[in-house]
């Protein structure tokens, strides 16, 4: 079942001759359990696509549906609930709350959603542990390295019962070992049925995806969805 559906999405910023067309007629459908990567040069519209899919921004035209519900018909409150409960979002610049510890940041969406503080904290710790950050749980964001902050943001996006995970450059400040840990965490979420979209410049990350979509100047120009049973690698393992 398709958890995220974008139909003919276009987005322009500004009006008249100075308008910037950030996205043009994008169709995208991501099923339960699937991981899609979006690649493309800087300015090609990747973040715009993600913010529209995450209901953080309105498209100029086109339709978005999440878990079968069209965003067009939703009130602001409905959308806020959707973002809290259904969508996990990793921003390009992480967006951690400075007054909360790593564990509190991760537990926050659960608490906002009515989970008891103790349970939320446990879930937060478990997610941090999976990314090798158990001993950083009590630190504040400004006491963490860039890569650690990024992993906290990722942990926050996967806790709870989210159905859709949207991540913008989730490996930006990570070395490749941690990048791989992050992708494994996202894949684990997919195995639990989450539909994930990852925006990335990094071909290593993209290679974890079931499908890769290439954007250029706001358009989807190509995609990769290989038949992985038909490996062409020259190795007996393949």
């Amino acid at each position: 079942m398709s958890l995220l559906e974008l139909h003919q999405i276009s987005k322009s910023y500004g009006e008249g001759p100075t308008a910037v067309r950030a996205l043009a007629e994008i169709d995208l459908s991501v099923d339960e359990g699937h991981l899609v990567a979006i690649m493309g040069p800087s300015g090609s519209g990747k973040s715009t696509l993600l913010t529209i899919a995450g209901s953080l921004e309105e498209p100029t035209s086109g339709e978005v549906a999440i878990d079968g519900a069209s965003l067009r018909a939703m009130s602001r409150n409905d959308k806020a609930r959707l973002r809290r409960r259904t969508i996990g979002y990793v921003f390009q610049d992480f967006n951690l709350l400075p007054g909360l510890t790593a564990a509190e940041n991760v537990a926050l969406p659960l608490e906002l959603d009515g989970v008891s503080a103790r349970k939320a904290h446990q879930a937060g710790l478990a997610a941090l542990e999976q990314l090798g950050l158990a001993d950083r749980a009590g630190r504040y964001p400004d006491q963490l390295s860039g890569g650690e902050r990024q992993r906290v943001a990722i942990a926050r996006s996967v806790v709870g019962e989210r159905k859709v995970l949207l991540a913008d450059e989730p490996s930006g400040a990570l070395d490749s070992t941690n990048g791989e840990a992050v992708m494994r965490m996202i894949l684990d979420a997919c195995k639990r049925g989450v539909a994930a979209v990852v925006v990335t410049h990094d071909a290593h990350l993209a290679s974890w995806a079931d499908r890769v979509i290439f954007l250029r100047d706001g358009r989807a120009v190509d995609h990769v969805a290989p038949d992985l049973s038909d490996s062409s690698l020259a190795t007996p393992r393949a």
Binding site: M39, P41, S176, L187, H201, D202, A203, H204, A206, S207, W208, A209, V212, F214, R216, V221, D222, V224, P226, L228, S231, S232, L233, T235, P236, R237, A238
Partner: protein
């Protein structure tokens, strides 16, 4: 891949038979590079000729010959391990030549050509990554070899991305768009 030195490395652990060397070579490269037994024996013959290994006399007809490394072999192995491979001159890379050629062919979009190759490389990377997804049967040597391959392919993707961007920028800034006017300018300066 230097089979010769890989075999010396395996013999540095102790004497071994040809068949054993074949098996260990394959498992020590994460079974990514198959090696046939004929190749093992030709390599051993050459190593023996060069005095880097010695064979033990087979005890009787039909038993396998064992091989051990000589002092000269150990010296050779150690110097090989510490000598960087020659990377001084750029290889004549077929993909680079294709992209450069695409610039010259009328009616061909170099960006489309770049995308064809980018897509292919990412597909290959997906296949390698699938191999390491299952951590259970993922041993250390295999992981190292898969990583090396992924980084090799990734570096090509990054070159394509950079070329794509550079060409796009050049097209939007006519002053650097083609080599034509620039060469002309240079000629004027020289005169």
């Amino acid at each position: 891949m230097s089979v010769r030195h890989a075999i010396l490395a395996l013999l540095s652990e102790g004497p071994k038979y040809g068949l054993q060397l074949q098996k260990e070579f394959e498992s020590s490269t994460g079974e990514v590079w198959p090696l046939n037994i004929g190749q093992v024996y030709t390599t051993l013959q050459r190593l023996e000729r060069d005095g880097l290994v010695e064979s033990d006399e087979a005890e009787n007809e039909g038993t396998q010959k064992g091989f051990h490394i000589t002092d000269a072999g150990s010296t050779e192995l150690s110097s090989w391990l510490n000598t960087p491979p020659d990377m001084t001159s750029p290889p004549r890379d077929e993909l680079v030549i294709k992209v450069l050629s695409a610039l010259r062919v009328p009616g061909v979009s170099v960006h489309d050509v770049i995308q064809v190759h980018r897509r292919y490389l990412i597909e290959l990377m997906q296949q390698w990554t699938r191999l390491k997804e299952d951590e259970a049967d993922f041993d250390l040597t295999f992981a190292l070899v898969v990583d090396a391959e992924l980084f090799r392919l990734d570096s090509v993707v990054r070159w394509l991305d950079t070329a794509d961007g550079r060409l796009k920028r050049a097209a939007s800034e006519p002053s650097v768009a083609s080599t034509g006017p620039r060469l002309g300018r240079r000629l004027v300066v020289r005169r």
